[in-house]
C-alpha cells in the first residue's frame, strides 16, 4: 500500500516485481529468481520555483532548443543489498546497485 491519504495521489514510490535473473538483460544465464524494486510515480509535489521557471522558459522557447534541463524525476536514493547468484556454468556472480531501496524526487 502506498502511504498518503486518498485524494493526495500517488507520488514517487517504491514498487517491486518478481523476476528471473535472465530478465535483467545483463547476459547472465541462470535459473535463479529475485525481487527487483524500482522507483516510479510523478514528482509534481516536489516542484520548486526553479522547476516552474524552467518549464515556462522552455515553453516560451527562451532556452536554446537542445539545452532543456530535465525536470525532477523519481529515482532511487538508496540501493538494495548486493545480489549474488550462481549461473548455469556454476560461476558465482555478484551484482551491485541493481535494485532500489528508497526513492526520492531528485
Amino acid at each position: 500500500k502506498v502511504r498518503g491519504g486518498p485524494g493526495r495521489g500517488q507520488g514517487c514510490t517504491l514498487k517491486q516485481i518478481h523476476l528471473n535473473v535472465t530478465d535483467l538483460g545483463l547476459g547472465y544465464r541462470s535459473s535463479e529468481e529475485m525481487i527487483f524494486r524500482y522507483c516510479s510515480g510523478p514528482c509534481r509535489k516536489s516542484q520548486t520555483n526553479y522547476d516552474k521557471i524552467l518549464y515556462n522558459l522552455a515553453n516560451n522557447r527562451k532556452l536554446p532548443p537542445k539545452d532543456t534541463p530535465s525536470q525532477a524525476c523519481c529515482r532511487p536514493t538508496a540501493f538494495d543489498d548486493d545480489l549474488s547468484f550462481l549461473d548455469d556454468n556454476l560461476v558465482y556472480h555478484t551484482v551491485r546497485k541493481h535494485s532500489a531501496r528508497k526513492c526520492g524526487c531528485v
Binding site: G25, L26, G27, Y28, R29, H93, R96
Partner: protein, 617 residues
C-alpha cells in the same frame, strides 16, 4: 612382531536397554578386551574419565573383574527412574566407562583414552514378556552401530558377546544359538558354549582391511525354527609392519637452469610403504629423512621436502606414498655452474625390523644462464601516424619468459652520444617500459610529434640489458623503420574505448593507436563472452585480458584490460584488473566501464520494400 601394546577393546561403545523391575544380579551385557598373548588375563573395571564425582547410577551396576559381564547390583525401582532430573522423558540414558588392565588396581580413573563407553537406556516400564517380544529383539540389539576394530598381528580371541544377556531368560522355552557366515573364508567363528564371536587367527591388514560377517541367530521353539540375520563389519587396524620400498628408481636427475628462484622445487622420488600413515596423532609409520655428507654450500642452498599421500595398491588395499623433492633455499646466482649429488636417507622410524631405511639420490646439474639476445639487430616498422603509447614491439633476451629467481632490467640508449641536438630530440620518439614482474620490455611511442618531423627518419637505439646481481650487461641494436606517409595534424587524443559503435571507433584517433585510428572488435557471441565488442587502439594488445607495462601507464589507453573500478552491466572481472568477459559491447570513460547489449533493430524489408524489389527484378 614383538611390539607389546597391551590390552585393547575391539569396540568403543556398548549399548543395551534396562527396565524397571529387573532384579539384582541380572546380567546386562559383556565387554571384551583383546589380548596380546595366551597368558594375559584382562581385569575389567568400571572407571570414570575425570576425577569428578561418579554419577550415582554407576553403583547400581557391578562389573565382573574377570569375565567382563556387567550385571545389576540392585533391583531397579521406579524411584530410581524418578531420581533423575528432569524427569519428563520416558527413557533415561545411563552411561559409564570401562577399562581393562593386566592386573589389579584400586584406581577408578580410566587408564587411557580408549576406554569404551557403556550406554544404557533406562526405560520407565517393566521388561516386555516373551509373547510381546519380537524374535529380532531376542537375537540382536536393534540399533547397535559400533563395528569392531581388531589390530593386525595380534593374538586371536573372543571379541563380542552375541547373546543378549539381559533378554536371555525372557523366553525360557526357546533355544537361541548363533553362527557366523562369510562369503569368502575368514578367520571368524562362534564359540557355541559361550555364544561369543571369536577371531580365530591373527589378521593382516595388508591382506584384507575389513571383513563383512553375516551373523545368523537361530531360535528354536517346540514347533518352529526361525532364523534372524544381521551383518557386521569387522575392521582391521594397521600397525607399522612393513618396511619402505622403492618402485623403480632411487635417483632423480635434476637440471637447474632458468628457474633458480628460492622455493623452486625439482624432481620427485617416491618411497612406498604398505602401511598407512595417520594424519592425526602420528602414532605410527613416522618417516624421518637425513641429508648425508652435505657440504656447507649445498646445505645453504638445497633442502629436501616431503609430503605423503595414500593410494590403493593391488587388491584395493590402501598404502602410503611418500614423495621427496628438492627445494631451493635461496636464489641461485646466474653464473653458478656446478654438479653435485645429494644422498638422502629415509628412515621409517616406527618399523621394528632392520631394513627400515631407503637411500635416495639427487643428481643436480646447475647450468649458468647466458643473458644474450638471439638477434644482433631488431627491426621494427612504425607508421608516422602512430600516437602516443602506441606499442612498437617487444624485446626479450633469449628464454626471458622462463627466467625466475633473478631480474634483468632493460634500458634504451642512443648509439651515438655525440649526435646533434636535433637528432637527440628525434630519439625522444620511442621509450621502453618493463613491468616489475616481467622479464621482457615493450617499446612504445613517447613523443608522437617527433615521429612526424621529416628530419626524424633514422631511429636507431641500443637496448641494454643488465642482470641485477652480477651487473652483467648485454645489448642489441634496435632499428625503427618509419613509413613515408605524412603524419596528421596533432589534436587532443581521446581514449578509443569511449566509442560504442563501429563507425565512430574506426574514424576516431585514439591514444595508443599504431595506425593512428582506433580498431573495432566485433563480438558475435550471445550472453557474456570473452569476445565482446569493443573499440581498441591495437587489437593485438588490447583487449587481451592482460594489462601490460605500456597500458598501465595511462588509464585511457586500454581500460578494458586495466580498469580497477567496478564495471556496470553484465560482465566477469579479470583475475587482477580489467574485464574478463562482457555482455554485448564494453566501453569505458577513463576508468569507468560499461558492458551492455544494444538491441539493434535490424531494418527488415517491409511489404513496401518487397514490392519495390519485386518490381525491379
Amino acid at each position: 612382531l614383538d611390539g607389546v601394546t597391551g590390552l585393547y577393546f575391539s569396540q568403543n561403545e556398548y549399548i543395551e536397554t534396562v527396565y524397571v523391575g529387573q532384579p539384582a544380579g541380572t546380567p546386562v551385557l559383556q565387554v571384551h578386551a583383546m589380548r596380546d598373548g595366551d597368558t594375559e588375563r584382562p581385569h575389567f573395571y568400571l572407571c570414570s574419565m575425570n576425577s569428578r564425582r561418579r554419577p550415582a547410577h554407576v553403583s547400581w551396576f557391578r562389573l565382573d573383574i574377570s569375565t567382563g559381564v556387567l550385571s545389576l547390583n540392585k533391583t531397579l525401582e521406579e524411584s530410581d527412574f524418578a531420581s533423575f532430573y528432569p524427569s519428563s522423558q520416558s527413557v533415561k540414558k545411563l552411561s559409564m566407562h570401562v577399562m581393562a588392565l593386566p592386573g589389579f588396581t584400586k584406581n577408578s580413573l580410566c587408564n587411557s583414552r580408549s576406554c569404551p563407553r557403556i550406554n544404557l537406556e533406562f526405560v520407565n516400564a517393566t521388561m516386555p514378556q516373551c509373547g510381546q517380544t519380537d524374535l529380532k529383539e531376542l537375537c540382536f540389539p536393534h540399533k547397535d552401530t559400533s563395528n569392531p576394530h581388531i589390530t593386525e598381528n595380534r593374538f586371536p580371541g573372543a571379541l563380542r558377546q552375541l547373546r543378549r544377556l539381559s533378554r536371555f531368560n525372557v523366553c525360557p522355552n526357546y533355544t537361541i544359538s548363533y553362527n557366523v557366515e562369510t562369503e569368502t573364508p575368514a578367520p571368524f567363528a562362534v564359540n557355541e558354549t559361550t555364544a561369543e564371536l571369536v577371531v580365530t587367527a591373527m589378521l593382516d591388514r595388508e591382506e584384507s582391511e575389513s571383513y563383512r560377517l553375516l551373523l545368523v541367530c537361530t531360535v528354536r521353539t517346540e514347533t518352529v525354527i526361525t532364523k534372524v540375520e544381521t551383518s557386521l563389519d569387522v575392521f582391521v587396524d594397521d600397525e607399522d609392519d612393513n618396511a619402505p620400498y622403492l618402485n623403480g628408481t632411487d635417483t632423480a636427475d635434476i637440471v637447474i637452469s632458468f628457474n633458480r628462484t628460492v622455493g623452486g622445487s625439482f624432481g620427485t622420488l617416491s618411497v612406498f610403504d604398505r602401511d598407512l600413515t595417520p594424519i592425526i596423532g602420528r602414532s605410527h609409520n613416522k618417516y624421518v629423512g637425513t641429508l648425508l655428507n652435505i657440504d656447507p654450500w649445498a646445505k645453504e642452498t638445497f633442502d629436501i621436502k616431503s609430503s605423503f599421500r595414500e593410494r590403493k595398491a593391488q587388491g584395493g588395499i590402501r598404502e602410503t606414498v611418500h614423495d621427496y623433492y628438492l627445494v631451493l633455499k635461496r636464489n641461485l646466482n646466474v653464473m653458478e655452474n656446478r654438479t653435485l649429488q645429494l644422498d638422502y636417507l629415509v628412515n621409517d622410524t616406527t618399523y621394528p625390523g632392520l631394513e627400515g631405511t631407503v637411500l635416495l639420490h639427487f643428481n643436480i646439474t646447475i647450468l649458468p644462464v647466458h643473458i644474450q639476445f638471439s638477434n644482433i639487430t631488431h627491426i621494427f616498422p612504425l607508421t608516422r601516424r602512430a600516437s602516443s603509447y602506441a606499442q612498437v614491439g617487444k624485446v626479450c633476451v633469449e628464454n626471458c619468459q622462463q627466467f625466475d629467481g633473478f631480474r634483468v632490467t632493460y634500458r634504451l640508449e642512443v648509439p651515438d652520444k655525440n649526435a646533434s641536438a636535433d637528432a637527440q630530440s628525434c630519439h625522444a620518439a620511442v621509450r621502453i617500459a618493463q613491468a616489475p614482474d616481467e622479464m621482457w620490455a615493450l617499446l612504445y611511442v613517447n613523443d608522437s610529434e617527433a615521429l612526424r618531423r621529416p628530419e626524424c627518419q633514422d631511429l636507431q637505439y641500443l637496448v641494454v640489458v643488465k642482470e641485477e646481481h652480477t651487473q652483467l650487461e648485454t645489448s642489441t641494436q634496435i632499428q625503427i623503420i618509419l613509413d613515408n606517409e605524412a603524419g596528421q595534424e596533432s589534436q587532443p587524443l581521446l581514449s578509443c574505448a569511449e566509442n560504442r559503435r563501429r563507425g565512430d571507433c574506426e574514424s576516431a584517433r585514439g591514444l595508443g593507436t599504431t595506425t593512428g585510428r582506433c580498431q573495432w572488435r566485433q563480438g558475435y557471441d550471445k550472453g557474456i563472452s570473452e569476445n565482446y565488442s569493443t573499440c581498441s587502439p591495437d587489437l593485438r594488445t588490447c583487449p587481451d585480458r592482460f594489462c601490460d607495462a605500456v597500458e598501465s601507464k595511462d588509464a585511457s589507453i586500454c581500460p578494458q584490460d586495466c580498469t580497477k573500478k567496478p564495471v556496470i552491466g553484465g560482465h566477469e572481472r579479470g583475475l587482477r584488473n580489467g574485464i574478463q568477459a562482457g555482455h554485448g559491447t564494453c566501453y569505458c570513460y577513463t576508468e569507468k566501464c560499461f558492458c551492455e547489449k544494444e538491441d539493434i533493430k535490424e531494418t527488415i524489408c517491409d511489404d513496401m520494400c518487397k514490392t519495390i524489389i519485386a518490381t525491379a527484378l
